[in-house]
């Protein structure tokens, strides 16, 4: 589904990704771990198409299309979803309004009719119940005055409504208490699907207790330096990152 080949990307002239390779197939859950500043969030932003990052070489292919050719909104409509580490507040814009606009932008792109208002509300309420969210959140400004946990749940709600082919969740576990973490993990697990791939970007093993990955990658210095199964995450939890980094540079 996603093929990242020898990807190099920089921000403000500073190279962050230095030749990254990653292959994700439908139905898989990948966890990308690594120390601070290793390029995890950069990878997520580059795939989503943030303009601040410049891709200097390499290729990213998504469902057979050259992703780097597409605008961020086109990537989203093609099925890429980024769960933001810091979801931005948009005061005055109704949460339901944004959500509906997003759903309809995607439907339109795929030649479908716009979603009916009642159907939309019914679906949104259903997903919110699953995530333990109060329906009043629909009528509030986008992330306006939301707590950290509420913002992350809101991201998962959007993901549930948009049903992406590839979901990249950037530090979705950060700042969550244990109840919120469980709710978010439940939400993500319920979206696991043979047709869908999920990439979790995280610092900690903790999230992986609740969402079991098929593959774990260690990102350091802008490259993936080791890949393994979920046992690698446990080992990292135990021993830290240093030994992997040292082994890679040896």
């Amino acid at each position: 589904m996603l093929e990242v080949k020898n990807l190099k990307a920089s921000i403000g002239g500073k190279e962050i990704l230095t030749g990254l390779n990653l292959s994700v197939k439908a139905g898989e859950v990948h966890a990308i771990m690594g120390p601070n500043g290793s390029g995890k969030s950069t990878l997520a932003q580059v795939i989503a198409g943030h303009a601040d990052y410049e891709v200097t070489s390499g290729a990213v292919e998504f469902l057979g299309k050259d992703l780097l050719d597409l605008d961020p909104e086109e990537r989203a409509r093609e099925g890429i979803f980024l769960g933001f580490q810091y979801p931005v507040e948009i005061p005055g814009v109704n949460n339901a309004y944004l959500l509906k606009a997003a759903v309809n932008a995607k439907r339109k792109h795929h030649g479908m009719d716009e979603i009916d208002a009642f159907e939309f509300l019914k679906l949104a309420r259903e997903k919110m119940t699953m995530l333990g969210m109060d329906p009043v959140f629909l009528n509030r400004g986008v992330n306006e005055g939301f707590s950290g946990g509420e913002k992350k749940r809101n991201e998962i709600l959007q993901m549930a409504m948009l049903e992406p082919s590839l979901a990249i969740l950037d530090e979705t576990d950060s700042g969550l208490d244990i109840d919120a973490l469980k709710a978010v993990a439940n939400g993500v697990n319920s979206l696991r699907d043979p047709e869908r791939a999920i990439v979790l970007v995280t610092h900690y093993q903790r999230l992986l207790d609740y969402i079991e990955p098929d593959y774990v990658h260690v990102l350091s210095g802008g490259q993936i330096i080791r890949s393994g199964d979920k046992s690698l995450a446990l080992e990292l939890e135990d021993r830290g990152y240093e030994w992997v980094v040292e082994a890679a540079s040896a």
Partner: protein, 482 residues
């Protein structure tokens, strides 16, 4: 209204059959201004003596005044002797021959606003024989208003038919000595609207200048006077979302509202004068004096405005809260893009006991535009228990525009409560990226954020106006980002 109010075509096609076309067979007066010109205007309009005297008094006072320079706007000096103060509709040779000669950007805007083809030519000032179907609906309206005793007619007609009302109320809210532009307007005003709602009457429909959209060239020095007698109510809609072009660059209108005891006036404006091209060339200078007098107890005047046009706007719709428990409101959205400049706001003068006022001002700046909010809240010593709440928010799009706030407060009664809140925010790249990552295009994202920002004001507009205002904002800000 018997027709779909959202149907712009049917609205703009309506013609106020027995009013608004002032029947004057005179050529334009030569440029320049002196007593002779003032007398000539009055004569052309066949005005009674008192009106001429009133104009002359204003003119003589104007001669002693200086053009104000305090506003935060910049424009080349206006030579008042270069302006023609009365012009019959432009002769065809001066006008564009066809739409091919009109700024293509303007045409594009008409297209986006859904202005019907035959309307576009007229709005753009093209020389065409605009023959509109006379619409029987308008006649029906006229009858309905007559039955209710409501007077709604061109100002020049009111001067002749209702001189007693004109004598009593004209200049009673905005005296000719008020300011430079008001004095000029008083001397040379061309035409405008006159409304009188008798005691206890709730005006059976919203009064709209749509009805008199075909009254060409009254815009330059427009004079409007609305009187709501005791216990009456009227909602008045001014303007049009279609960008109006006009060869007359200087516009100095005066609007006076009088609300007697228990009366309410709701005045809504959607103004979209041609702002000029991207460099501001050819745009209208709009220097307006709008003021309402809450003369009686429990009276209420509410100004709601959406301003997207003009190269320069200088405008402060105000309320004098004279009556006890009187209420003044000001809800405003002002958009400036490209090279537009706006210095706008309101004044609330509290005189009556327990008078209260609300100010909600939303300013949006994009491109290289400069916008200032200038507001005055004055509580006089006798205004026991007066209250004001002011909220003044600015939204910036891009990095080259500016927003400025000049709030003035003069509180001379210790029991008064005056609150002021102000915010400035910028549409951030992060907000836009967030929306785009959800599949929403940048333009739609900007529209969504801007409309969210203006929500509080839009909900004060009559429904069909609100819908149009929203569309207008989207068009006005097109290309503001990226």
């Amino acid at each position: 209204m018997s027709t779909d109010p959202n149907n712009l075509e049917s609205l703009v096609n309506r013609r106020y059959e027995h009013g608004f076309v002032t029947d004057i067979e005179a050529d334009s007066l030569p440029p320049g201004l002196d007593e002779g010109i003032v007398r000539a205007i009055s004569a052309i309009k066949k005005e009674p003596e008192f009106m001429l005297e009133w104009r002359l008094k204003a003119y003589r006072h104007w001669l002693t005044m200086q053009e104000p320079e305090w506003a935060h706007v910049h424009y080349p000096q206006i030579n008042y002797q270069d302006i023609s103060y009365f012009s019959a509709p432009k002769s065809d040779s001066d006008r564009p021959k066809s739409l091919d000669e009109v700024d293509p950007k303007l045409l594009e805007t008409y297209d986006k606003l859904g202005i019907p083809l035959h309307e576009r030519a007229r709005l753009a000032g093209v020389a065409v024989d605009a023959v509109f179907d006379s619409v029987s609906v308008a006649t029906t309206f006229k009858e309905k208003l007559n039955d209710a005793g409501v007077i709604f007619c061109p100002f020049s007609e009111a001067v002749i038919k209702h001189p007693e009302l004109i004598k009593k109320y004209l200049g009673s809210v905005v005296p000719h000595r008020d300011n430079f532009f008001a004095a000029l307007n008083s001397a040379v005003f061309s035409d405008g609207s006159f409304v009188y709602i008798p005691k206890g009457v709730r005006c059976p429909m919203e009064l709209s200048t749509y009805f008199r959209i075909n009254a060409a060239n009254t815009g330059q020095f427009e004079r409007t006077l609305i009187i709501a007698d005791e216990g009456s109510y009227v909602s008045y809609l001014e303007g049009c979302t279609a960008p109006m072009r006009d060869e007359n660059q200087l516009h100095a209108a005066v609007v006076e509202l009088v609300a007697m005891k228990d009366a309410e006036i709701k005045y809504s404006t959607v103004q979209n004068w041609y702002p000029g091209d991207e460099d501001g060339k050819g745009g209208i200078y709009n220097f307006v004096t709008k003021r309402g007098d809450c003369r009686g107890d429990n009276s209420k005047i509410s100004w709601t405005q959406v301003e997207t046009g003009s190269a320069i706007t200088w405008k402060y719709p105000s309320c004098i809260l004279r009556g006890e428990n009187s209420v003044g409101e000001f809800y405003s959205v002002a958009v400036t893009n490209n090279m537009q400049q706006a210095d706008t706001g309101t004044k609330m003068i509290h005189i009556g006991k327990n008078s209260s006022s609300t100010i909600v001002s939303k300013g949006i700046s994009a491109g290289r535009a400069q916008q200032s909010y200038r507001g005055l809240v004055r509580v006089m010593p006798q205004a026991q228990g007066a209250r004001n709440h002011t909220q003044c928010d600015s939204l910036l799009i891009g990095k080259e525009c500016g927003a400025h706030t000049f709030p003035y407060m003069e509180v001379k009664n210790p029991s008064a409560k005056v609150e002021h809140e102000a915010t400035t925010s910028r549409i951030s790249e992060n907000q836009l990226f967030y929306c785009r990552q959800r599949g929403i295009s940048e333009e739609d994202a900007v529209n969504m954020i801007v409309n969210g920002f203006c929500k509080e004001v839009f909900k004060e507009l009559p429904m069909e106006f609100a819908v149009e205002a929203q569309a207008l904002l989207n068009v006005s800000l097109e290309g503001a980002v990226g």
